[in-house]
C-alpha cells in the first residue's frame, strides 16, 4: 500500500508541474493508472498501448540474446580463438558464456544509449507539448541496437537516435503521426552519414576494424605484422554482391544462415528466431500477418523473376548483378535483414498502410522492392531498409485509393438512386 499511495499523493501534489510527464512515465510503468471512463463506453478492453508495445519487445528479446552470443562467436571465430561450431543452432560451441559476454558488453551499451537518448528526447517533447510520454519509442529503442553493426561507435548512435527521433517523429507530432519508421530513419541516417562504419566487410565482426587500424599503424611504424592478419567478416549478401562464390553452397551453410550463425547486424541474422517472433506477433494479434505474408510473397516473386532472367541467359555471368540474380529465389528470405525488416519494421502500424487491402499491396511492394534494390545496388546490398522507407512514403497513397473505393461505392449508390 505504501508505495501506491505515496506515488498517488506525490502525483496529486505536483499535478501542474512541468515535469509531470516524466514522473508519469515511471508511475504508469509501475502501476496501471487509476483513470476511469466518463461518458462513452463505461468499460474498456484490457489492452493499452503499453501492453501492445511490450509484446513487440518481448518478441525481440530472443533476437537480442542470440545477437549477443553470435557477436561473441563471430569475434572469436574471426580471431582464430575457436573453431567453426559444428551442429548449427544447437552446438554447445556456440552457446558459450565466453561468446555471450563478448556480445553482452558490446551490445548492452548500444541498448543503453539508444533508450537513454531516445527517451530523454521523448520526455522533453512530452513536457514541451504537455502530453504523456507515448510508448512508441519503447519498440524503436529496442529495434535500433538490433539493426546496427556491432562496432558502431556510441556517439554515432547517439547522434543518429537524436536525429531520427526529432526529424523522423517529433516534428510530425510524435507517436502515431510520423510518416517514416523512426528506427529505419535512424538506420538510414547512420548509413548515409557514416557509410564506412555501416557497410563493407570490416564492420560485421567485432574488432575487425580495430585490427585494420592496428595493421595500418604497424605498417606506418614499420614494425612486425606478426599475428596481425587482416580480418574479413563479410556477410553473405556482401559476397554475393561482389559476385564471389556463394557462401551458401552446402546445406550446412543454408542451415547456418537460417539459424543466424553468420555475420550481420546484431539482431537480424537469425531467421529462425525472427520467424518464431513473427508467429508470436501474429498469434497475439499484434503484428499484421497480411503485411508479413505479402512481403514474403513479394520477395519471392522478385527473386523468381531474377532467376528467370538468369536462366533465360539474358545476362552473362560477368555481369555485376549475376551473383545476386542467380541466387535461388528463396535464399533471399534467409540472408540479410529481410526477415527482420518484414516482421518488425514493415509491420509498424503507424507507417504501414492502415487498411487491410492496403496492407496486402504495401507488404507485397516492400518485399518486391527489397529484393530489387538488393540486386541492383551492389554498393549497399541490403534493400529492405530503403524499400520499407520508400513504401512508408507511399502507404498513405495506397490507403487513399483503397478508401476511395469505398467512397466511390457510396457515390454510385447515390447515383443509382437519383437516376
Amino acid at each position: 500500500m505504501g508505495l501506491k499511495s505515496n506515488l498517488h499523493n506525490f502525483r496529486e501534489k505536483n499535478k501542474d508541474k512541468k515535469w509531470l510527464p516524466a514522473f508519469s512515465a515511471i508511475h504508469t510503468f509501475l502501476y496501471l493508472p487509476n483513470e476511469t471512463t466518463h461518458n462513452g463506453t463505461h468499460i474498456k478492453a484490457a489492452d493499452d498501448l503499453k501492453r501492445t508495445m511490450n509484446i513487440v519487445i518481448m518478441a525481440m528479446v530472443p533476437c537480442l540474446l542470440f545477437g549477443m552470443f553470435n557477436a561473441g562467436y563471430q569475434h572469436h571465430l574471426a580471431f582464430g580463438d575457436i573453431q567453426q561450431a559444428t551442429g548449427g543452432f544447437f552446438s554447445s560451441q556456440f552457446w558459450t558464456m565466453d561468446n555471450f559476454m563478448v556480445g553482452f558488453w558490446k551490445v548492452l551499451p548500444l541498448v543503453i544509449v539508444s533508450y537513454g537518448v531516445g527517451l530523454l528526447i521523448e520526455i522533453l517533447f512530452a513536457m514541451k507539448n504537455k502530453h504523456e510520454v507515448e510508448e512508441g519509442y519503447l519498440v524503436t529503442g529496442m529495434l535500433v541496437p538490433l539493426i546496427v553493426p556491432i562496432d558502431t561507435p556510441l556517439w554515432m548512435l547517439a547522434v543518429a537516435v537524436a536525429f531520427g527521433v526529432v526529424i523522423g517523429k517529433e516534428v510530425f507530432g510524435g507517436t502515431g503521426m510520423n510518416i517514416l519508421n523512426p528506427a529505419l530513419t535512424i538506420r538510414a541516417f547512420l548509413f548515409f552519414a557514416y557509410p564506412t562504419w555501416m557497410s563493407g566487410d570490416k564492420v560485421w565482426v567485432s574488432g575487425a576494424k580495430g585490427r585494420d587500424e592496428a595493421i595500418a599503424v604497424a605498417k606506418e611504424a614499420g614494425t612486425s605484422l606478426d599475428g596481425l592478419d587482416a580480418i574479413s567478416g563479410e556477410t553473405i549478401l556482401g559476397s554475393l554482391a561482389q559476385n564471389n562464390s556463394s557462401m551458401l553452397d552446402s546445406a550446412g551453410d543454408l542451415w547456418n544462415a537460417f539459424y543466424g550463425i553468420i555475420p550481420g547486424s546484431i539482431g537480424e541474422t537469425s531467421t529462425l528466431l525472427i520467424l518464431l517472433a513473427g508467429l508470436f506477433l501474429v498469434f497475439t494479434k499484434i503484428g499484421s500477418w497480411r503485411i508479413m505474408l505479402s512481403s514474403a510473397i513479394g520477395a519471392l516473386v522478385m527473386g523468381l523473376i531474377f532467376n528467370g532472367v538468369v536462366s533465360s541467359e539474358w545476362i552473362s555471368s560477368s555481369s555485376k548483378f549475376y551473383g545476386l540474380m542467380s541466387t535461388p529465389f528463396w535464399h533471399h528470405l534467409l540472408i540479410g535483414g529481410f526477415a527482420f525488416g518484414t516482421v518488425f519494421m514493415a509491420t509498424d502500424p503507424v507507417t504501414a498502410s492502415q487498411t487491410n487491402k492496403g496492407k496486402w499491396i504495401y507488404g507485397f511492394l516492400v518485399g518486391f522492392i527489397s529484393i530489387m534494390i538488393r540486386v541492383f545496388n551492389p554498393a549497399y546490398p541490403e534493400g529492405v531498409m530503403l524499400a520499407i522507407l520508400l513504401m512508408n512514403v507511399f502507404a498513405p497513397t495506397i490507403d487513399h485509393y483503397v478508401v476511395q473505393g469505398n467512397v466511390k461505392k457510396r457515390l454510385k449508390r447515390l447515383k443509382v438512386k437519383t437516376a
Binding site: 501506491k4 506515488l7 498517488h8 504508469t28 510503468f29 509501475l30 502501476y31 496501471l32 493508472p33 487509476n34 483513470e35 476511469t36 471512463t37 466518463h38 461518458n39 462513452g40 463506453t41 463505461h42 468499460i43 474498456k44 478492453a45 484490457a46 489492452d47 493499452d48 498501448l49 503499453k50 501492453r51 501492445t52 511490450n54 509484446i55 504523456e132 507515448e134 510508448e135 512508441g136 507530432g173 510524435g174 507517436t175 502515431g176 503521426m177 498469434f283 497475439t284 494479434k285 499484434i286 499484421s288 502500424p349 503507424v350 504501414a352 492502415q354 487498411t355 487491410n356 496492407k359 490507403d399 478508401v403 469505398n406 467512397v407 457510396r410 457515390l411 449508390r413 447515390l414 438512386k417
Partner: protein, 449 residues
Amino acid sequence: MSKDIKIKKGLDIKLVGEADKTVEQAIVSNFCTIRPEDFHSVIPKLIAKEGTRVKAGDVLFYNKDIEAMKFVSPVSGEIVEIERGPRRRIDAIKIQADKPQSHKDFGKFNMNSDAASTKAHLLASGCWAFIKQRPYDVIANPEKSPKSIFISGLSTAPLAADLDFVLAGKEEALQAAVSALSKLTEGQVHIGVGSNNSPLASMNDATIHNVSGPHPAGNVGTHINKLDPVNKGETVWTVNAQDLVVIGELLLTGKFNAERIVALAGSSVKKPRYFKTIIGSEVATMIYDNGVEKGGNDRIISGNVLSGKQLKPDGSLGFYDNVLTVIPEGDDYEFFGWNKPVFNKISTSRAFTFSWLNPKKKYELNTNTNGEHRAFVVTGSYEKVFPLDIYPMQILKACKYEDLDEMEALGMYEVAPEDFALTEFICVSKQPHQDIIRKGLDLMLKEIG
C-alpha cells in the same frame, strides 16, 4: 421483401449481472425528472413554470425550431424545480408526482387517418420525441419524409434488456404504432428480429428481417447499413421497440403512458431483475433495495455500459433508456497492470490477455480505462468489430480534423455514435470514439443541416 441480416464482425461482451426474467413493480418515484439534454440538439422553450400543476401528457416545453414538436410530462403532479445551467440553459425539469396519477386524454385515434394528421397527433402528444432520424442521430425532422423506418427488435448490447421479454403481451400497442408509422414513409418499415418468438415478428405493415450475429447485430445502425444505407440528402427514421408501446397506447387509449419495463443489471447489483417504472423516475427507487450498496463505489449508468450515461445516486432514468446498469468503479491502481497476464478482463487480442481461451465466460468489468489516452497507433483492430461498410479509423480521423467533405464521403450520414461503441471499447489508444462521432455529427448538422 424480407432479407436476413447475418453479421460476422462484432463482439459479444458477456458481463456478470444479467437481469433475471422477473418483473417487479418499482417503488413509485416521488419525483420525475426530464432532462432536455436527452433530446440532442433540441433547444427547449418552456411552457410550464415552477409551481404549475400538470397531468401526464401535458406539455412541458416545445422545440424552439419546430414549434409543433411538444415534449410532455410523463407524470401528473407539480413542477417543483427548473434547474438551469450556464447561460440559463435548462438542465432539468423536476416534477413532484401525485399519488393517484391522472392523464390528459388525447382521445382514441382514428387509425384510418392520413399521414398528416398522424404526424400532427404524434407531435402534439409528445410521442414524436421517440422518433429519431439519421443522419445526425437526432429527433426526426417532421418536415422531411423518410425513405424508410427502422425498428430493432433485438438487443445485443451487454446486459441489455431482453426485448422479447419486455414486449411480451404488448402486441396490440406495437401493431398500432407500426401501422401508424408505416403511413409516414413512402418506403417500408423494417423490423429486425432475433427470432420468431419476438412479439414483433408477426407485425403487419412492416418487413420483418431475421438478424443474427454478435453485437452490434441488434443496433439499428447495422440494419440500416445492411438493408438501406442513407445517402446524401436522404433520411431514415428509427424508433426504439419499447417506445413503440408508448406510441401505440397513445393511439389506442388516448393516454401518454410513460410506463416501461426496465432491466436493472450489472455486477454491483445483488438481485438483477426487471422493474416496471416510469420514464424520468429516480433510480434510487430501484437500485438500493436490490443489493446496490448505498454510498458504495459504483458507477450507475442509465442505459447500457457501452453508450449509457453516468448518473449520480440521485439521478433519474433517461428518456430513451430501458436498462439501468451498475458496475464497480475502477479508480484504483494496478501494480504492473500493463504487462502482467490478464485473465479477468476482456480483450480482442491475445497479448497475454486470455479472454480468447474461454469465450463463454462472463466478466466483471469495472470502469478503469486500462491505460491512458494515446494517439491512434494500432490499425486493423476496429474493422474486426465493426460490421458497417465504412472505414472506422478514417472517418474518426476526418471528424477530428473536421473535414466536412471527407466526413460526407466516408459515410457520416449513415452513422450514430452508438455504432462506434465497440471500436471505442477495444481501442488500444483509449480514444473517445462516440464523442468524436457526436461532435462530427453536430458540426455537420450546423454547417450542412
